[in-house]
């Protein structure tokens, strides 16, 4: 499989009142064509900011300060604003956590679908009526693809007239309208009921297989990752701490943080016993010393961990940011 997205040594910083926040601190990652990469981490771990950086959508006072983002052979950081705009929505698409806030309340669903086609689709006919018909047909097709009943009539409706699950489907339809090569799904299920969550994830997997696109699934639910992702990347405090094939990472984690995350998942077999939380708090990202960031919460921490820890090979296709990973097997 060829590499579609390759991020190396990405740094994204925010100038906050308290000081410089290194929200993304030297993240490197690869996504192959057609692959599904799960990105896991708690709130504030930098997973969303990493991919906002890829999209070129980091808001002021945030700024990408270092690193390269190669997509389809081009470094996105070298592109002009206009070139980047052309890639967004066409080659890389994104869905957001809550479709209720991500869809514009004042525009009809049809308009929000049509504009993305209008912005990117060069195959549309140029004649006005023909163009409008083509856009309508494509919109109906997309809503049908994500399983919205009677799509034709629903194009004229506003987002608030749909249920939560339907809105999520509409947002996915908009993201996929131009058949992107990469879909970044930022917590696609967090805002949904459990039953709808499964449907939406099935839908993404199904369309991914059909269109052959790559998917980055940002989530904090390891269960979702286990079921849908080929590979997984675990983030902590702005850094990648572990990555590898999903079954291996989940079956035999080689970073104490991943292990802690897995241990904190409720299991039916352990009913009645208290859950095992990871003690302590995520460190404040302002003015972090160059040392293992998980150190203060790590059950395996040793004095020698107070140094900067690089990503280390941990078997074929696996890497971990732990000095003591050999002891974890």
């Amino acid at each position: 499989m060829t590499v579609l997205l390759e991020v190396s040594n990405l740094h994204t910083e925010f100038h906050a009142r308290a000081g410089l926040v290194r929200a993304v601190d030297g993240v490197s990652l690869k996504v192959s064509r057609g692959e599904c990469l799960g990105v896991v981490g708690e709130s504030g771990s930098g997973k969303s900011v990493t991919f906002s950086s890829v999209m070129g959508l980091v808001r002021s006072p945030g700024q990408v300060t270092q690193g390269a983002i190669f997509f389809d052979g081009r470094n996105l950081r070298d592109l002009s604003r206009e070139e980047m705009r052309a890639i967004r929505g066409r080659d890389i698409a994104m869905t957001m956590q809550d479709a209720l806030t991500a869809l514009n309340p004042a525009l009809t669903v049809g308009e929000q679908l049509a504009e993305v086609l209008e912005a990117h689709d060069e195959t549309l006919p140029t004649g006005r009526t023909a163009r409008r018909t083509a856009i309508r047909d494509r919109s109906v097709e997309m809503l049908g693809l994500v399983g919205i009943p009677s799509p034709e009539a629903r194009l004229r409706q506003y987002p608030h007239e749909f249920s939560g699950g339907m809105r999520q489907r509409i947002m996915i339809a908009i993201a996929l309208a131009c058949r992107p090569k990469l879909l970044i799904a930022d917590e696609p299920t967090t805002a949904l009921d459990v039953t709808i969550q499964a449907q939406v994830l099935e839908l993404i997997s199904d369309i991914r297989a059909r269109l052959g696109m790559a998917v980055v699934l940002i989530t904090h639910d390891l269960g979702v990752v286990a079921e849908h992702c080929d590979r997984v990347m675990v983030m902590y405090a702005g850094q990648v701490v572990e990555e590898g094939p999903t079954d291996q990472v989940i079956g035999a984690p080689c970073h104490p943080y991943t292990r802690g995350l897995l241990a904190s998942i409720p299991r039916p077999a352990l009913r009645g016993q208290p859950l095992t939380p990871i003690m302590g708090q995520v460190p404040d990202l302002v003015g972090l010393p160059p040392q293992c960031r998980f150190h203060s919460r790590c059950p395996l921490a040793q004095p020698q961990c107070l140094v900067e820890v690089p990503m280390r090979d941990a078997g074929p296709g696996r890497r971990s940011r732990c000095l003591r990973l050999e002891e974890m097997a």
Partner: protein, 335 residues
């Protein structure tokens, strides 16, 4: 919009109008100064003549009776005779009304046309020099008294630069036949473009003076709501779709940001009525505002009462218009 809602609004109007009538009536009665004395002035008249005049004007009856008489007549759209014009108050007001409406509408257009672009620009260039200037400018705009600002404009553009007329409305000199009473429309109907330009020249300074406070308020509302909207997820999502910056700003952000602006504009239009009295006086504009000011000085009770009722009705209707516009712009709300 259902008929029931419309009816409900109209019924709500009744207590408002009754209350307003009562307040105006009492306030006029409490204001020192006697219409008959003012009318007579220095002339020497006998007590008999004075009593007759008072009877003619209906001022010899007790106040409570006068109030109910006024209400009873007003219900039949009879507002009595103007003390000074010797004609029905309704006719006098109708004659002056077009000039005031024309001035107010032009002021409203000027305000909207400057406030919205400036507000949007200030929001998307937040904290820039332009934004700061706009903020200071809007503070000045709200605080400068209209009579003072109007006189400054007259001094600069009419007296010093001599490019715009000092005061008045082209009306007296124009030969254009009156159809609507709105000079901008009448001159166009007559095909007289020179007169149209002339009418416009007379309108510019009073319209700017009248619209200034409103411009300032609307600019701040637009800026604030634009900033609020730009933080929303749907703006990020629109950007993630690869739409042009222009489309994100104007189609996605502005459409939502205008909802509060339009509501405030509709309500603020009511405050133009108050501003009219000052601006029309400063610029010698022959409209209702100046007529009311004159009538207050002359204690022309019937005219003031009728005019205030008209103001109250306009204000309530404008609030109603604000509600309707709100639902038009915001698909989530139904009246």
């Amino acid at each position: 919009m259902s008929l029931g809602k419309l009816l409900e609004r109209l019924i709500q109007l009744i207590p408002v109008l009754l209350g307003v009538s009562l307040i105006v009536f009492v306030m006029l009665a409490l204001t020192p100064g006697d219409p008959v004395q003012i009318m007579v002035g220095e002339q020497a008249i006998t007590p008999e003549q004075e009593a007759e005049l008072r009877r003619d004007l209906g001022l010899d009856r007790p106040m409570v009776e006068r109030f109910f008489l006024f209400i009873a007549n007003a219900v039949q759209f009879d507002f009595g005779q103007s003390f000074y014009h010797g004609r029905p108050v309704a006719d006098v007001i109708a004659e002056r009304l077009p000039a005031t409406i024309e001035l107010s509408l032009v002021a409203l257009i000027v305000a909207l046309a400057t406030a919205i672009p400036l507000g949007v620009l200030a929001a998307i260039r937040k904290n820039s020099i332009f934004d700061r200037l706009a903020t200071v400018g809007s503070l000045l705009g709200v605080s400068l008294p209209g009579f003072w600002f109007g006189i400054l404009l007259i001094m600069l553009f009419a007296v010093h630069l001599q490019i715009l007329p000092v005061s008045g409305r082209i009306g007296y000199a124009s030969e254009v036949p009156t159809v609507t009473g709105f000079l901008l429309i009448d001159t166009l109907l007559a095909g007289d473009f020179a007169a149209f330009g002339e009418a416009l020249r007379y309108l510019i300074l009073p319209a700017i003076t009248l619209g200034l406070p409103m411009t300032a308020i609307l600019m701040r509302v637009t800026r604030a709501s634009m900033l609020e909207v730009m933080r929303q997820d749907y703006i990020t999502f629109a950007e993630a779709k690869g739409l042009s910056h222009r489309r994100v700003i104007f189609r996605h952000a502005l459409k939502n940001a205008l909802i509060p602006t339009v509501s405030v504009a509709a309500i603020e239009t009511g405050s133009l009525l108050g501003g009219n009295m000052i601006v029309e006086t400063v610029f010698g504009w022959p409209g209702l505002g100046r007529l009311v000011v004159e009538s207050i000085f002359l204690r022309n009770y019937p005219l003031v009462q009728a005019a205030v009722l008209l103001y109250a009705i306009t204000y309530v209707l404008l609030n109603f218009v604000a509600d309707i516009l709100y639902t038009v712009l915001n698909p989530r709300v139904k009246l």
